[in-house]
Symmetry: C2
Subunit: 155 residues, 2 copies
């Protein structure tokens, strides 16, 4: 039931979304391997992408991740251990941790960001800015009208 020969209407939106995510994931993975970062878990790619240049609160990352805070904690442990991320406690609220990227983390973020950009630019030239803006709106509508108590999307 797969493939390009099927008519587009017969492929469900959810299937397209699922496969689109795999497409991005594979591209990121390949780019990371090329740059020597072959030890990043799949959800680690999300974390590294979600921590900006200025760092981000762990709690926020956890919410975007969609797993338990314990699982998130372990994931961050391995990212710290492997030299991609560092934890600092927020001086404003000493319960909170802020995540920052190390040098290596920045390299990884750059590599995976470039891979994403390649796909995005390619897509842009192929379907045009209007379609992409429309797609963004559609997905945002889906997400924000069905979101659980305190979750959301990440940059």
């Amino acid at each position: 039931m797969p493939d390009a020969t099927r008519s587009l209407e017969s492929i469900s939106l959810i299937a397209l979304i699922r496969t689109a995510r795999l497409t991005y994931g594979r591209a990121m993975r390949a780019a990371l391997v090329d740059v020597g970062c072959d030890d990043i878990p799949s959800n680690g790619m999300f974390v590294i992408g979600a921590i900006g240049r200025d760092g981000a609160p762990l709690s926020e990352i956890i919410r975007g991740l969609g797993v338990s805070k314990q699982a998130a904690g372990q994931l961050i442990d391995t990212l710290v251990l492997r030299g991609y991320v560092e934890r600092d406690t927020d001086p404003q609220d000493r319960r909170c941790l802020t995540l920052k990227l190390t040098e290596r983390g920045l390299d990884a973020a750059a590599a995976q960001g470039a891979a994403i950009d390649r796909l995005d630019v390619d897509l842009l030239t192929r379907v045009g800015a209007d379609h992409i803006a429309g797609t963004r709106e559609t997905l945002a509508a889906l997400i924000f009208h069905n979101r659980e108590p305190q979750a959301a999307a990440q940059a």
Copy 2:
């Protein structure tokens, strides 16, 4: 860095896709639990959705799944064990297995399909058919112009 207050342009397409998938996944999960199917692994939801009323070749399911065939094999093992799926060898080619849904599997498929429909219909009334068609095209373009040797999207 999340939430509805951010401007839409600042949220990357990949993040929206990721979160949209979580949204569908949670809705399906909830619907399945409501109907007594609380023992279906996440990828099992995909499998159950991908096997149609007429059954589907295992090999095809594996390709759509995005994991190794061994992992897929184990997943199917548990779905068989838990009474959702049955395996039959294809008489045309006795290497190949065809997957079919059991009664229980059909119930689960119905429940999760209804959950998906609810989201889809809701989205349709919210953004309109044109936007959804455009979204489909955009995602399909992303997928099919970046697909690895023999993978694709599932219905």
